[in-house]
Symmetry: C2
Subunit: 171 residues, 2 copies
Amino acid sequence: MTSDHIRSGCPINLTLEALGDRWSLIVIRDMMFGNRRHFRELLNNSEEGIASNILADRLKRLTEGGFITRADDPSHKQKAIYSLTEKAIQLVPLLSAMGAWGRRHMPVTKTLSVRAEILEKGGPALWSDFMDELREMHLGEPRPGTGPKASDQMRDAYLAALKEEGGTPRS
Amino acid sequence: MTSDHIRSGCPINLTLEALGDRWSLIVIRDMMFGNRRHFRELLNNSEEGIASNILADRLKRLTEGGFITRADDPSHKQKAIYSLTEKAIQLVPLLSAMGAWGRRHMPVTKTLSVRAEILEKGGPALWSDFMDELREMHLGEPRPGTGPKASDQMRDAYLAALKEEGGTPRS
DNA sequence: TCAGCCGGTTGCGTTTAGCAATCGGTTGTG
DNA sequence: CACAACCGATTGCTAAACGCAACCGGCTGA
């Protein structure tokens, strides 16, 4: 995440050095599952309430680290569009594993964990479909799949859980 | 990892809150793959060079969080034996995913990544065997499996890579 | 014209990371 | 029985990161 000094060449350690803080993966999660692409979207819809200076810092670091790219939004001279890179898209299995573990061992809420449940039960096949969707949305690569979208399954389940609970959608 | 305030009930967020710092998973990794059970083992054999105060703090937090337990070593009045709990053993798929991603996207060293390679290629079946081994070593549950030990495969591959490179084993 | 949105920045106090030296008790060895 | 080495930490310190609130100038749509 921050320092340029490599502690060791262990893959687990290097992953922690790149993403082992309390916000980097939250930002990536929101871009990935909530399809938030603008600074204000990430700031105002944040479930966890990230501060603007922290968000700005993470977007900078994630850009420098090759996890996201920044582009001008043609519709607004001040708007920036952030996109996930292939490097970040390949975090899907890791985020799925985090969700699966958290669902079993932490006090999660129903609404916020139905997407993780689908991702876990869908397994590698669903992850692959979802990653193809992300490549289409963030990298402009046409999606090879023709079946139902993984993101639709997750969104539907999320909205159903939300309706049951009576809240307002975040994405 | 540290604060008692829950930011949100999202499973990914809660996992980050529990383990999202730069040392907690390193300690668990060393206990899990390096079979380090004592304070000094974790301190002196640390590939990344953890400081003693940080280690003491993480052992305390991981104990409070239910990831490890502390017991007296009957062979030495001052020695403590740390053991993984089931909660920590179930992090194997997560650590495997971290290793797999790191191996692809970070500048890992051959020696320190062969174990991650085996864990990745072995897949869920191998994880399950390895988790049974961990339950035997840390929880005293007799191992159901009869085949070759997952840990032996990883150790052999590690020692072979080490020999090729000409280093000294850490575990 | 002007309120509201745009991606941030600044200032400041609190918390955590990290390093080096040290602690008092225990143990194996000569 | 002396003593060095080892045991799990603790202390004091500095640097870095976190977190909050207020604010910035430029842009946009009504």
